[in-house]
């Protein structure tokens, strides 16, 4: 199996463009081990989420069409349920899944100001004896494009202020 058509280019470190966050990290473990950490429920729950948070419970069925469903518990924050669906599962190199906010029953529960459906693409590339991991986290514009509109607004304000003393038009 050759690399996918969307092999990440070297140096695609960190950035955000049009609602997609792109990140990269290198791990010293081999790909299969990193892939297993994403696709086995017990392992996934050991690391996914910010420090101090935990996934309790975590159900994960890493097959195309399979479900991800977990409750994310925080020390300083109310619980958040998330549900997702695996789209591509290609060990040890590629994993794609969607997810959205949910409830205990697994229904979709959108929240104003938060993203609706998100899509997470994970690519694992061999790097020496280790693994280079790329994530594309898409859908980070809230429902109805609130964040998009907001950043456009900031750009417009910046442009208006660039013309110092000139009243802008609306």
């Amino acid at each position: 199996m050759t690399t996918s058509s969307s092999t990440p280019e070297a140096g695609a470190a960190l950035g955000w463009r049009e609602g997609t966050l792109v990140l990269e990290r290198t791990f010293s473990a081999p790909r299969a081990r990193v892939f297993a950490a994403w696709t086995e429920a017990e392992r996934f729950a050991r690391w996914f989420g910010p420090a101090g948070s935990r996934l309790e419970p975590c159900r994960l069925d890493a097959r195309p069409g399979g479900t991800l469903h977990y409750r994310h518990r925080f020390d300083d924050h109310e619980d958040v349920w998330v549900r997702g669906t695996y789209l591509e599962v290609r060990p040890p190199e590629r994993l794609v899944f969607t997810c959205h906010f949910s409830d205990e029953g697994g229904a979709r529960r959108d929240r104003p100001g938060f993203p609706g459906e998100m899509r997470i693409e994970v690519e694992l590339v061999e790097a020496g004896g280790g693994t280079r991991l790329f994530i594309r986290h898409a859908g980070l514009d809230a429902d109805r494009g609130e964040v998009q509109g907001w950043t456009e607004s900031l750009d417009r304000l910046a442009a208006e202020l660039g013309a110092s003393g000139t009243p802008g038009e609306e």
Partner: protein, 116 residues
Amino acid sequence: MQTDPLSATFAALADPTRRAMLARLSRGEATVTELAEPFDISLPAISRHLKVLERAGLIERGREAQWRPARLAAAPLREVDGWLDQYRRHWEESFDRLEAYLRELESRESDDDDVE
């Protein structure tokens, strides 16, 4: 409760409903009713949100009952990428934990001859 302007900006933007309202206003003026429409909260609650945004200098009342975004220094707002920062932080901290977990696995299995 007058704090320095940047703190007021942060506080005003810390709420997702207010961010959504601000984004709506970036697309044009709106009345309180129009702003309230996507949310399942009362009009008085909407008005309270608007007051917070107004006190932070982010919006102003226009002609008649319309609200619109106000002119103000864009630079501090550009810094307030908090919305995306939380996702970036989520991943960075997750990766830290993943790294620690992988190392733990490696040291536990250091006697095995794993071939992957």
